[in-house]
């Protein structure tokens, strides 16, 4: 057994049997003394002197006992425990300091861990499938349709087993599941034949879908569906004989053939499909739509692959590139469609690592999230710096205590250790508490980002744990460094003896503290300027003017596509539904539109007049749309329910379109065509309305055309019902729900959304980053204010006697205020200048996130400096005023 192990074993035994150790030690020493006594007696000494000579020879038995006890203890452990309890007592005795320190740490570490778990969930966590590192996500380049694919390209790709182990397609599909005589909506996915094999997760019951299921019309044995563990539980109550059960999905009969395990989430990290069906049966479940039949005109699903063993991403990519030319050519006979409209290059396929699965959120949120991550790191750094400077100031205020401890025999090492234990205890508790609040914060943030329509997994895993531990250690280092630095400035004892050195030391210490404070001020200014720029952008986005009044609009997604109604029945339903809904109390104007502004779907076409051509955004609307949306009708008239297709085709233009096509003449009564070919239909312009934003809040107003619902063929009736309501939407929603049950009994429950929310969702990534940035800026300001106040208050308390003497010698209170205030004023000014300099360079990173705002926006910069200055003034004035109220007599006596 190695010596140290033996030692630990014996010491541990002694630790658990302290009483026995004490008794043994006492016995051993007593025995020795007894033997000595006998010896002296034998040597025939003067019997009376025996005890004295034993004592003289043996020395102090108590001292030996103590030394031996020490030998048997884990000295460092017991010292540590003692230090810990002492530190806890000290921290407990200054609750103000402790709570501020802990709060800043919790804030810093909590938000960092939370933001990191988002980054982790969205960008780092691998898909929960075996060998996720072998997965690839396919896309088209140069840009084309990006990650979207069409059936002709995919079906050719699927056969290329020479390039991939498996290649598979997937897309989300909202299934209408028959429950009694109604339909319920459940999120699901359409997946191609190799999907489950490619992901490599076996089902927990039955089988998964394969190539035989993935053919037009399904397998000969019937249509198959695979369900998630969650759906098995909620719909089938975990019935063990679920395989073979029937489900009516989108009015089509399916058989459940398998149940996936609970851990399986498909290939998208932000959705949790409940039901999987084959891609090839899309026309059955999508009716009246048919993306499959649209061939290369419809790019509607994603493609992923598992690479062959032994083939790297680069090799696979090269092989894919080699086959993609002929493959695309075969799939898309029309050469116009093979060319990227921006770069005029031929489309080709490319693969990238897909170990983390696919998410549409990633594209939108990667950069904002990283910016947020940096901001939040800055706040943590700030919290650490703040705590460090507070500790430094506090250590200075505790000089007397430390000097006393040194004077009564504590070693310097022990004092440093004691101070270190104190800061470690602080940072450790802070880290732990911060980490405890992180999951809650993360859930809140992810709710914020995704508006709860996706299921991003932000739970704690090994990466989050490591990250939290990492920042915890980092904080401890930064914070713990202070006592070490403090101690390295020379022995406190010499400082007590020598006044000159005392001064030098105090100066260098104050310099260090001021340096940290300056860095804090600079960092805060950077965060505040960043938040200011982002906030200004968001405000400008909101103020840019939508062209309509979005407040108080309720949007109802009615899904009547599965009712198999003919056009007249649909029109009749729309009319009747609108009439009835308008009678609901609290409901004003009602109308329909497809699509509504900012809904995420857009529609555009090329339109022609006699001499001009222009791409126009398009929207199909019912009468009263402009009134409901409060879009001004500039000239002409609105559509009417009587404008059916037995009358001439009509359109309404927005001002931009009208000005483009008819800059001089009155647009009303003019005609425009929807193509320049032979089959062109001619439309009469019956009115002009004000401009509105359509697809993106951040883009400029575009020319737009409105077509009437009444002249739509209504083969795909997916209009959104739009109504203006007064007051809360709750009662109206209930009434409309009932109305749907009455007028469209089979239809699923409609989805409700306010226009306000739809607008917010359209800019959710921007909103998220702005709100977080503002939150962080407020935190930064608070933390800095605390730091400036705290350090100044401490250093002023040390100068009590000096100030007292100054006042006794005739200094005015005003002068005293300035004397104290000056200390921080210098720090704030230098810090602001430095922060401004860095901000000018760093704010460029925000350019892509800003709207109508320069990254060097002067008012924002000035306001940020003003805000910081105001906070710094308040934080510094309080100790200064306090100092000015020192009574000279008391101050001198105090020393």
């Amino acid at each position: 057994m190695p010596e140290w192990l033996h030692e630990i074993e014996l010491r541990a035994k002694a630790l658990f049997n302290k009483r026995r150790l004490q008794r043994d030690l006492a016995d051993e020493l007593a025995f020795h003394q007894a033997m000595l006594r006998e010896k002296f007696e034998r040597e025939d000494r003067d019997l009376e002197n025996v005890p004295a000579s034993v004592h003289q020879s043996f020395g102090d038995a108590h001292r030996w006992h103590e030394r031996l006890t020490e030998l048997w203890q884990f000295r460092w452990l017991e010292n540590l425990l003692r230090d810990l309890s002492f530190a806890a007592r000290i921290l407990h005795k200054s609750p103000g300091f402790t709570s501020v320190a802990l709060l800043t740490l919790i804030l810093g570490i909590g938000t960092n861990a939370a933001v990191f778990s988002l980054v982790n969930g969205l960008l780092l966590r691998p898909l929960p499938v075996p060998h996720a590192e072998e997965l690839l996500i396919l896309r088209q380049l140069p840009s084309g349709f990006g990650y979207s694919f069409c059936i002709p390209v995919f079906r050719l790709l699927e056969k290329r087993t020479d390039v991939f182990q498996d290649v598979f397609a997937f897309t989300n599909h909202e299934f209408q599941v028959r429950n009694g005589n109604r339909n319920e909506s459940h999120g699901g996915a359409l997946v191609s034949g190799q999907f489950f094999a490619g992901l490599g997760v076996p089902p927990q019951l039955g089988r998964y879908l394969n190539a035989t299921d993935d053919q037009p019309g399904g397998a000969t044995s019937g249509l198959a569906a695979v369900i998630s563990d969650q759906f098995w539980k909620t719909w089938f109550n975990h019935a063990p004989d679920v395989v073979g059960s029937k489900l009516i999905l989108d009015n089509v009969a399916f058989t459940v053939v398998g149940v996936m395990p609970r851990s399986f989430i498909g290939a998208e990290i932000t959705s949790r499909p409940q039901i999987y069906a084959a891609l090839a049966i899309e026309p059955l479940v999508d009716a009246p739509f048919n993306n499959t039949a649209s061939g290369y005109h419809s790019w509607w699903f994603r493609v992923a692959a598992r690479r062959k063993p032994g083939m790297s991403v680069a090799q696979t990519n090269a092989a894919l590139r080699a086959i993609s030319g002929p493959l695309v050519q075969e799939a898309i006979p029309d050469s116009q469609f093979r060319i990227d409209y921006k770069t005029q290059e031929q489309l080709y396929l490319s693969a990238e690592s897909g170990s983390t699965g696919y998410s549409f959120l990633r594209k939108d949120f990667r950069y904002p999230l990283l910016v947020v991550f940096v901001l939040c790191g800055a706040v943590l750094l700030l919290a650490c710096l703040n705590l460090a400077s507070l500790l430094l100031a506090r250590a200075a205020a505790r000089e007397r205590e430390i000097a006393t401890r040194l004077a009564i025999g504590a070693t310097r090492r022990r004092v440093i250790q004691q101070l270190l234990v104190e800061s470690v205890l602080l940072s450790f508790t802070g880290t732990l508490a911060g980490f405890a609040v992180a999951p809650l914060t993360a859930r809140f943030l992810s709710f914020f980002i995704t508006n709860n329509y996706s299921d991003l997994d932000t739970s704690v895993d090994i990466r989050v744990l490591l990250f939290a531990a990492g920042i915890g250690v980092l904080c401890t280092l930064v914070i713990g460094l202070v006592p070490a630095l403090h101690a390295s400035f020379g022995s406190v004892q010499t400082q007590m003896r020598q006044g000159a050195q005392n001064l030098r030391r105090a100066r260098s210490q104050r310099l260090l503290g001021n340096l940290m404070l300056t860095a804090e001020v600079a960092l805060t200014l950077i965060v505040v300027i960043g938040a200011g720029l982002l906030g200004t952008s968001l405000m400008r986005v909101y103020r840019t003017g939508l062209g309509f009044d979005g407040h108080g609009l309720l949007l109802v997604d009615l899904d009547i596509t599965k009712q198999s109604w003919k056009a007249p029945a649909v029109l009749q339903f729309y009319c009747e539904f609108a009439d009835e809904a308008a009678r609901i109390p609290g409901v004003g104007n009602v109308t329909y539109a497809m699509p509504t502004p900012f809904s995420g779907s857009t529609s555009w076409d090329d339109w022609y007049s006699n001499s001009k051509k222009q791409t126009l955004y398009a929207s199909s609307i019912a009468p009263d749309y402009f009134q409901t949306m409060r879009i001004p009708l500039l000239t002409g008239r609105d559509f009417a329910w009587a404008d059916t297709y037995v009358t001439p085709l009509k359109v309404v233009l927005n001002q931009a379109a009208a000005q483009y096509f008819f800059p001089i003449a009155d647009p009303v009564g003019q005609q425009i065509r929807d193509s320049d070919g032979k089959n062109a239909k001619t439309y009469e312009v019956i009115g002009v309305v004000g401009n509105t934003k359509y697809a993106d809040l951040r883009e400029a107003v575009r020319p737009m055309v409105y077509k009437p619902l009444t002249q739509d063929d209504l083969k795909t009736p997916v209009y959104t019902f739009v109504l203006r309501i007064s007051g809360k939407p709750g009662p109206a929603i209930d009434a409309i729900r009932n109305l749907t049950v009455r007028l469209a009994p089979g239809a699923p429950e409609p989805n409700f959304l306010t226009m306000d929310r739809q607008i917010n969702e359209a800019i959710s990534s921007m909103r998220m980053i702005v709100m977080l940035a503002v939150f962080f800026a407020i935190c930064a300001l608070l933390v800095t204010a605390i730091g400036l106040y705290g350090t100044l208050a401490y250093s002023t308390s040390r100068r009590t006697s000096e100030i007292g003497i100054r006042m006794a010698l005739g200094a005015q209170r005003k002068q005293v205020v300035w004397l104290v205030f000056r200390e921080n004023a210098i720090v704030a000014v230098i810090g602001s200048l430095a922060g401004m300099g860095v901000a000018l360079l760093a704010s460029r990173a925000l350019t892509t996130l800003l709207y109508n705002t320069s990254s060097h926006d002067l008012p924002v910069m000035l306001l940020s400096v003003a805000a910081l200055g105001a906070i710094a003034c308040i934080a510094s004035l309080l100790p200064a005023l306090h100092a000015a109220h020192i009574e000279p007599i008391e101050a001198i006596r105090y020393e």
């Binding site: 057994m1 010596e3 033996h6 030692e7 014996l10 010491r11 043994d24 016995d27 051993e28 020493l29 025995f31 020795h32 007894a34 033997m35 000595l36 006998e38 020879s57 043996f58 020395g59 001292r63 030996w64 030394r67 031996l68 030998l71 048997w72």
Partner: protein, 113 residues
């Protein structure tokens, strides 16, 4: 007479350890016996102070070079007897060799004119 005190000097410390190990070569003994033995064997030149003896003994025990057992002394008192372990014996051998080399070298240097 030379008193061996517990100082931090490596030579003295190491030497005391070696002397203790040596004293236990012929069998188990208690602390008092060890001190007496060293005193006798050095012809009353070396006297081990108790303040040095016991820390040294306990340190050697902790390191596993000695094992300790409670037993009755010659005059029937409860006493703690120390005994060399296998490791202790090995250590004694290597220490003796090292000492022989060292003392010969020191003597050689001191004999030079």
């Amino acid at each position: 007479m030379e008193n061996i005190r517990d100082t931090s000097g490596d030579l003295i410390q190491g030497t005391l350890d070696m002397l203790i190990l040596k004293s236990l070569m012929r069998g188990a003994m208690h602390g008092y016996g060890i001190a007496e033995w060293i005193h006798q064997m050095s012809q009353q030149v070396l006297r081990v102070e108790e303040g040095a003896l016991y820390p040294a003994l306990h340190r050697l025990e902790l390191r596993g070079l000695l094992s300790a057992k409670w037993g009755a002394s010659e005059n029937n008192r409860r006493a703690k007897f120390y005994q060399l372990t296998a490791e202790g014996k090995k250590k004694l051998t290597s220490e003796s060799q090292r000492w022989a080399r060292l003392s010969a070298a020191v003597a050689f240097v001191m004999q030079q004119a």
